[in-house]
Symmetry: C2
């Protein structure tokens, strides 16, 4: 590899974080800009270009970048497009990979944030050496990146791996952001945990530290703090959450029989509060032939670096678009 | 390819069917033996050898066989072992691939019947040219073979693709043969349809042609015949079955985003009786981003030949085991 670095860019609803990464996964330097500073996407890319260039210059890395990897919501690896944006006012579908590649003169590959996390974990983290695993990100939503035979699963259209939208409750399920009801994400995301808290507080009478907090402002962090303080109701919320997550993981296993399921994101840092009921539920619900075989692992990427690292790993395989087309979809004929 | 033929062997609980297949998927000749004639597996393999050899001689195909592919229940592609047998009294785990390969002096690969069906469909049938699809076999049970990026999904241990054991009813689900409750197979297999008939007949009062049949002997074929004859209750059984199958297919889609789901097996021949409610339920339950994208296809393999064809397709990639080990598991490290 003649050029020793890649650049990872993680586009979030608030911040766009970027960094220069070497082949061992060390983040040489990183910085960020405000994603929403520019409502015009071209002005955004101009600022991104000047700030990334400034960082490269400061680290003697100009002309040493093999490729750029971008993690962004609803980004399609095959087409290089962002298909949909919720809190960012840029027009969609947006040919982001092509636009950034033309601006920088460097190959660019993009994928969604959960897929980027899976690639980062496989390249630098807990999934090194694993060829069959599932990455689950427990954040505001529940994201997933699936690896089978060492390859990220994109499906025929680039959108595979939406495991947060597996239906876990077919009757009276909670409304999900996707418009349907009963999705895993509506229960096991950070916001799902907060919803569970509000439900439990409403239907139950027993005392709880959580009753001291205005009910609409309760967060998963509040539930965590209360549980750590020994609050019974808060502990039962984690029990409830881990139970549903374990049911889901048992179903995922009959699909792809992964060697490990790797957890990332804020909720994953709840430790045994979540992991014990999750592990118990997963094993209890597991089909016999898979019992005891699937390891539950936590991400080994440092949280501050994880998004940039995950995105950057894509940069190693990025290719320049041909003048006529974006990179062809490898799995579509 | 210097040797123009493969042999496909499908080991069922009653019959073992085998055939000589050419590279275009033509079954040159086929025959069968009774699987249970010998309780000793060595005697079974001896008879299989002499009958297959007789067939090869009659078709001038001796020394022209590239490899043998075997489809068998609970067969593991990675290890060449049959892990478990239900109605066949041979000892397990059984190193079948090795035993057959040593007897014939020809490379042998084995997999379970649903995986064999998927490979057969990809090689010779409705999935030619597809790189991302799911094969669902609706027989006594519900089997599946999953193809992603043109590769069959075996998972880290060889047992991936047990989609018939996805949980569809988390409360008061029917007992499944796997020991758990609420599995897809307990509802949408041929025996599941018969169970639905018994449930419907018990809790409902309306007249039905099915009431003329002793309730314990009702089969899915009886339900089909009654539905075709216009019986309302029998039609509702197909509606119920298709609805659950569609819910399952929508969940499978968020995992691997397949281009098509291909149906095979007795129930799949129910035509629009099953396909209409299945299609409607799948689209109704589908996450928006996948709506209208997944084609429902029927197997294009002739039923009489399908099992042999599917197994035979494995023969093209079979390799001789090394003296020390069976073929190493490519995805396990």
């Amino acid at each position: 590899m003649s050029k020793p670095y890649v650049v990872g860019i993680d586009i979030g609803g608030t911040n766009t974080v970027f960094g220069i990464v070497d082949a061992r996964g060390a983040v040489i330097a990183s910085s960020s800009i405000k994603t929403l500073k520019h409502s015009d996407v071209n002005a955004y890319i101009d600022e991104l270009y000047s700030e990334v260039t400034r960082l490269l210059e400061a680290n003697d890395a100009v002309d040493k970048v093999h490729g750029i990897g971008i993690g962004a919501p609803n980004a399609n690896y095959y087409t290089g497009m962002i298909e949909k944006l919720v809190n960012i006012p840029w027009p969609t579908p947006l040919p982001l990979a092509q636009m950034v590649s033309e601006k920088f003169g460097i190959p660019v590959a993009i994928t969604n944030d959960a897929n980027a996390a899976a690639i980062g974990e496989m390249t630098y983290g807990a999934a090194r050496g694993l060829k069959n695993f599932i990455m689950i990100t427990l954040g505001t939503g529940v994201g997933s990146g699936i690896v089978i035979n060492g390859q990220l699963v994109y499906g025929h259209d680039g959108f595979a791996g939406e495991l947060g939208h597996t239906i876990m409750k077919r009757n009276n399920g909670r409304l999900c952001g996707c418009g349907r009801t009963g999705c895993l994400e509506a229960y096991c995301s950070a916001s799902g945990v907060a919803r569970t808290a509000r439900e439990f507080l409403e239907v139950r009478q027993d005392p709880s530290l959580l009753r001291d907090i205005p009910v609409e402002s309760i967060t998963s962090k509040d539930v965590y703090d209360a549980a750590v303080a020994g609050d019974k109701l808060a502990n039962e919320i984690f029990e409830y959450t881990g139970n549903i997550l374990g049911e889901a993981f048992a179903d995922f296993t009959v699909f792809s029989s992964p060697e490990a399921i790797i957890l990332f994101g804020g909720l994953a840092k709840s430790g045994e509060l979540l992991m014990r009921p999750l592990r118990e539920s997963m094993e209890k619900n597991m089909m016999n032939m898979f019992k005891g075989k699937v390891r539950l692992l936590l991400s080994e990427l440092k949280e501050a670096d994880a998004a940039v690292l995950g995105a950057s790993a894509l940069g190693w395989e990025a290719k320049m678009p041909t003048p006529m087309t974006m990179p062809a979809a490898p799995a579509v004929e």
